[in-house]
Assembly symmetry: C2
Homo-oligomer: 471 residues x 2
């Protein structure tokens, strides 16, 4: 018994014991969706083809539009100089330089477990092989052999370890398995969910949402999934030094609305700035980040074009929906215990507001203070002032106000008003900051533009997950 | 006994126990310097005036040039939009709009414990009061009552909590105490060290260095101190919510070389880019960052002007010296267990190399991998590609190489060569990355320019220090 006491005492003294908050469970963010809520004319599946070692881990998603005419397709891709092979292949296809038609596609294929990044010529060949294998699953085009046949109609995404070639034979076998009857492709909730799960790496829940909207009296549906937050591939470790961890944000959004390819790309670019480009887990940009939208027009109606009345309605629906999917990534942020909205108001331009919101959202000092539940306006102010403004305007400290807003929309807590530090009600600060969700609001007093960002805190768990300290 | 076992077991299970590396002691970076190594014509002191609560904590430094003619003076200041009062006052003095002569000063006064930031009109008045009180310590100018008398000749710095007014009476009394005989002002090592200690907040050692150099056959000396890494003021806590933590980098460099004010400013701007602007602890920019150089010409010789042969010699000495002081700040980084040099070579321009080195050095994913002693070239590559290059050049992944270089200059460890992942010798990787100091080298294969950055790792201790989690 004395030995046991000694052992336990020694265990306590030889380690630094940090009392940390438990990372809250986030699985309640995944809920069933009625199958009738999904857009018409799409079938999906998620399966295990063997990229991931665990036999139950889904690692391949296939998404097909069942329409004969190729859907309008648009994409937003990482601006990283080192774009992974699937990113380069998608760009070629959408730009029409890959042999297909500009802004047209009918399928998306996604593998998790291997990013196909920094894989040279072989990587490009593998990505193209995934495209061709998925093209073969598509129903014959109404354009027949003179039409789309032979043209690439599949967009491709990969996420996982970097610097390793895809196990391409396994992936191709997985895709080809859907050519046999019965395939697992389906349009019900279970099929959508399996596809969403096949996107996941260390995500703790599948990120799947659907919404219904109306343009010009016609009802349309939009559904999609996103993936992100997980940067550690579970088979990483000391024995596989050449494989390195890799963070990627992926999203596929599908709609049965009819829209012209160019209008779809404009709407997606606008939406991406206000959704996926407005989130931060750790401020690092991946080589694989990809957002794809397919609009197959299966629900009928007149084609939406830029400049038409319906365009802004569609764009704003897409923006709101993309923001929902983007926020799920932040909620699932590695080690995150807080989901924090950063709003910047009264800015001279949207770009100014966005730049400041981005700086606050990525500041290590702000993020550790959020973890510490500390109403630290000094750090928020220092981050606000650290950004060179795109509009070249000059901030005036005497006009800046900072408040913390509770998620329940009860009374806000002003901490700085027109440059004047406020006497902070400590009990109220504790009440707001101990919640898992709240908002940091910064008013610049210089204009009418606003931007929002979504971020999470920096915790011990974040260091643990990404430090991977080999003790 | 059973109860003790239960108690210990419960203590182990109710906390998340993380085995962390001990933060290495850094006090060996402070060593005595022979008094003969310091530049002529300067006296200094550090004392306790009462800004800090602890009666032994030095919190006020005074630096005077004993020359009758004001020294050439130059400064580099935070680019934060919310500049603290002492920053604004220094800029006015150096620019000649504060009533003094452009680029001239004879003294520096520094307090730690309170940043005098976000303190409005009172803050400016307090900073000016510190200037005037220190001016009164200066020997009468040779220019007499028609000369510099009445003109401000003191530059001022503050570091500590933000949003709180200075205890100005205590500070003024501290400065005025040096008017009485005997003052504690001196030119020996102990006086320099006391001044360096008075800069400290949570720094674990005073950062003081000296060097000797030659321009045009004349020998000159340069000495100085820096301060940084500490962002938490020890009297912070739940009971003082209006006071918030504050990170600041301060440095004073003194030399007895004769140099024209404009040449001194050019040299300092160049040196700051390659020293203080090339370090990162957490990527956050303070409202108070200030570097001041005084060159009093006390060692004689011809005045160094831009374009003269001696100018580049002086500039390079200043750059090397500033880099030494800047590196000490990184070595003392909060929670840091590693001191890592990031070198970017073969860039099209210095600005490109600097931008990439900065991005790698501030990436949370790179910094957690450094803590984890993980040769994670994928994260380094992703950070390298994430920067829009100032020269608008386009990186070519196939030309990029990444190596880890050990501090002892033994064989480097290439992990990526011309875009090709290398088979990494894991034992060798461990050998290099377990050291406290090593270098990450990135070659772009695109030009002849280089830049260096110095950074540290992100540890549990960093989160603890800055999260200040109120459990």
């Amino acid at each position: 018994m004395a030995t046991e006491v000694e052992r336990l005492r020694s265990q306590l003294s030889s380690t630094v014991t940090i009392t940390t908050k438990a990372t809250p469970s986030k699985t309640h963010h995944h809920t069933p969706i009625p199958s009738s809520s999904f857009p018409q004319g799409f079938v999906l599946t998620g399966l295990h083809c063997g990229v991931k070692k665990s036999p139950n881990a889904l690692d391949l998603a296939v998404v097909l539009s069942t329409t004969e005419k190729p859907a309008a397709a648009a994409g937003c891709f990482t601006r990283n100089a080192f774009k992974a092979a699937p990113v380069l292949v998608c760009q070629e296809i959408l730009e029409g330089t890959g042999g297909g038609d500009v802004g047209r596609a009918r399928a998306v294929v996604v593998n998790s477990g291997c990013a196909n990044a920094v894989t040279g010529k072989q990587g490009l060949e593998d990505a193209w092989a995934m495209v061709r294998a998925t093209d073969a699953l598509l129903p014959t085009s109404s354009f027949g052999s003179e039409g789309f046949e032979g043209k690439p109609e599949t967009l491709v995404m990969s996420t996982g370890v970097i610097g390793v070639n895809l196990p391409i034979a396994k992936i191709l076998a997985g895709i080809e398995s859907q050519n046999h009857t019965p395939s697992t492709l389906g349009a019900d909730f279970e099929s959508w969910e399996r596809a969403a799960r096949a996107f996941m790496t260390t995500d703790t829940f599948p990120k799947l949402r659907a919404r219904t909207f109306t343009v010009g009296g016609n009802e349309y549906k939009m559904a999609g999934m996103s993936k992100g937050a997980g940067m550690i591939h579970p088979d990483m470790g000391p024995t596989t030094p050449a494989k390195t961890l890799h963070a990627t944000l992926l999203s596929v959004i599908l709609t049965d609305a009819p829209i012209a390819p160019r209008a779809l790309q404009s709407a997606l670019t606008y939406a991406t700035d206000r959704s996926f480009n407005s989130i931060s887990v750790d401020g690092d940009m991946s080589t694989n980040d990809t957002i794809i939208v397919l609009a197959n027009g299966a629900a009928g109606g007149a084609e939406i074009e830029e400049g038409h009345a319906g365009y802004e309605v569609f764009r704003d629906e897409l923006t709101g929906f993309a923001a929902e999917l983007a926020q799920l990534v932040v909620r699932d942020g590695e080690g995150a215990t807080k989901f924090v909205t950063v709003s910047v108001h009264e800015a001279p331009s949207y770009a100014d507001a966005h730049a400041i919101a981005s700086k606050i959202s990525t500041s290590a000092l702000v993020k550790t203070a959020l973890y510490g539940e500390d109403a630290n306006w000094g750090r928020i102010l220092a981050a606000t002032g650290a950004v060179p403004l795109p509009s070249s305007s000059t901030l005036d400290p005497a006009r800046v106000s900072v408040s913390f807003l509770p998620a329940d929309r009860s009374a806000p807590l002003p901490v700085l008003v027109n440059g004047e530090p406020q006497k902070v009600d400590e009990a109220r600060a504790k009440e707001i900051l101990q919640e898992e969700e709240f908002e940091v609001e910064v008013k610049l007093g210089m204009g009418a533009e606003s931007a929002q960002y979504w971020t999470c805190d920096f915790s011990y768990e974040y260091v643990k997950i990404n430090g991977d300290y080999r003790s």
